[in-house]
């Protein structure tokens, strides 16, 4: 059944992207702010269009693409992230790039890539969507053409991205060899029926797939591109990378790991747990050493990936109920993490626009010169660290709690210890802002009202999730429902 109506939101987005690019071609002197505003409008339209699909039944496109609550969740997330990043970028890109239309267009395209990663129920579609997202990101990371760092970051990203894609594809080919299909459901059926002779191919296939998706979400030891890419990228793109790209990776993982290869969890779950442990340890230990804010956030987000992978491991270790609960908690956590990260980057962008300095010592005395931004940074960092009042506390607690299974308690403990280590470097940032006086001659400055409002809204959301997580959690639970409805039969068989 080819029901093209389920793509309407992406038509909106893609159309918007084309429109934005075309506008600048037609009218090269158009104000960049208008492009940003347009992007925001398009993403809002995208969200609006997506809302119509909430709770709609079976919206399957040829078994390839499934538009359900899960997809809708990521549509809304994508739209939201893009809107915020676009606002963030307005001033930043105006000052630094000659043309901006492609930039905004690519943001939208990347969002589309993410949505289809979440929606795909077939490996080719998932792979192509993943590459769509990746390509957009490669370009966006290197968008500051005359900035050597930007180009270097982009090069590293694309070379390593392609390298890891090859591994992913090889893994997929092995799985294909065993199952002769690329549909998730088909893979699941075939894996369920497979004989023991195919174990070697299955195991190596899973590991290679894990490598590929691990690279996308920057799990150690596949994480090494991330800090460099984050540091070299334009600041809003760093925000974009650490939110949308990670969320997309987990969208793909959730879809794939809860259905297609869930049945063979015993083969890969230990590896996920191992990756999770390595990732959180590496991310947090390395973050301690950083002096550049973006780089620090990169490592900290690697640490966060480690925590999120706990859920994936739990999907492997627990029964379907644990998997469902953990997945919904993961979605909730992603929301909290995204909101906090965006808040942090709103502040960093605003500061960078003002001072041109993205090092941690550059924040010196921020509490004096721009207390609001200091507050925004504190809120987001504390949210990362999982301190109460802020999203991270509730979401992390829910995430770990729902992932607690007998076999994984050690990992949970490690995760909690790691989030404690992370507090150290967050406090180092706080120290610069609050404990030190601003550098000589630094005066109090006013913040662009748009940025102010956005910062306020984001920390408002962070606090709302932290204090009253109920509705968000419910939404997340609704979003994960379809994952387990479809896989239910399989799970029973397993």
């Amino acid at each position: 059944m080819r029901d093209y109506t389920i793509f309407i939101p992406e038509f909106v987005a893609a159309g918007g992207a084309v429109l934005i690019i075309a506008l600048e071609l037609i009218w090269p002197r158009i104000r960049r702010d208008i492009l940003a505003t347009l992007t925001v409008l398009v993403s809002l339209g995208w969200i609006g269009a997506s809302l119509a699909y909430i709770g709609m039944g079976d919206n399957n496109f040829q078994g390839l693409i499934q538009v359900d609550n899960f997809t809708t969740f990521f549509r809304i997330l994508a739209g939201g992230i893009i809107a915020v990043v676009a606002i963030m970028s307005a001033t930043y890109m105006r000052d630094r790039a000659k043309t901006a239309s492609e930039y905004y267009g690519l943001l939208l395209v990347a969002g589309i890539g993410m949505v289809y990663m979440a929606a795909a129920r077939e490996l080719i579609t998932a792979y192509i969507s993943l590459e769509l997202l990746s390509f957009s990101l490669y370009i966006l990371v290197g968008y500051l053409k005359r900035d050597a760092l930007s180009s270097e970051a982009s090069l590293k990203y694309i070379l390593l991205g392609a390298f890891s894609s090859a591994f992913l594809l090889y893994g997929i080919s092995l799985i294909y060899g065993i199952t002769q299909t690329t549909y998730y459901d088909g893979i699941a059926d075939a894996l369920l029926a497979r004989s023991g002779d195919t174990d070697a191919a299955a195991v190596v296939g899973f590991m290679l797939i894990l490598t590929g998706v691990g690279f996308k979400v920057s799990a150690a030891p596949f994480h090494m591109w991330a800090p460099d890419a984050y540091e070299g990228a334009p600041i809003p793109i760093t925000a974009f990378l650490s939110t949308l790209s990670k969320a997309a990776g987990f969208a793909l993982i959730l879809r794939l790991f809860t259905s297609a290869i869930q049945v063979d969890a015993v083969e890969w779950r230990w590896a996920v747990a191992l990756l999770s442990a390595a990732t959180m340890v590496v991310g947090n230990l390395m973050a301690i050493q950083q002096t550049n804010l973006k780089r620090l956030v990169a490592y900290s987000s690697i640490g966060q990936v480690g925590y999120m992978l706990v859920v994936v491991a739990a999907i492997g270790y627990g029964d379907p109920e644990v998997g469902r609960d953990a997945s919904s908690a993961l979605l909730l956590h992603i929301v909290g993490y995204v909101v906090s990260t965006l808040a942090l980057f709103t502040a960093i962008t605003a500061i960078y626009n003002r001072t041109g300095d993205d090092s941690i010592p550059g924040l010196r005395g921020l509490a004096e010169t721009q207390p609001f931004l200091a507050l925004v940074i504190v809120v987001s960092l504390f949210s990362f660290a999982g301190l109460p009042f802020f999203a991270g506390f509730a979401t992390k607690l829910f995430m770990f709690q729902s992932s607690t299974t007998d076999g994984l308690l050690w990992l949970i403990a490690l995760a909690v210890v790691n989030s404690f280590v992370s507090l150290y470097y967050y406090l180092m940032i706080l120290r610069q802002m609050y404990l030190f006086d601003p550098p000589e001659g630094a005066a109090r400055w006013r913040l662009n009202p748009v940025m102010w409002c956005m910062g306020a809204a984001l920390i408002g959301a962070t606090i709302a999730i932290g204090v009253y997580p109920g509705p968000f959690f419910e939404a997340a639970a609704h979003a994960t429902e379809p994952l387990y409805q479809q896989g239910a039969d399989l799970l029973v068989q397993r």
Partner: protein, 102 residues
Amino acid sequence: MVPLENYLVLSAILFSLGVYGVLARRNAVLVLMSVELMLNAVSMNFIAFSAYLDPSRITGVIFAVFIITVAAAEVGLALAIVIRLFRNRATVNVDEAAILKW
């Protein structure tokens, strides 16, 4: 008759050579070429699987088509970035493109 394993082994060799190339070579373009080699190996894998095991649905062949497409696009984009880097830094040596570290 040529058994399936032959193709798979050949593909594995190609893939490994590609891996070696990525790890060993310093020229960004050569690294890219090594990646192409790896993707080629994967395509061959898919097609071999498709031809031997799945001739009716041929999903592997389709996948190979997409891989070739993506690979081509990737090369184009990557080369643009290499050229970009060359303009900025006058080097295509990946070991020298290491300002971002630690």
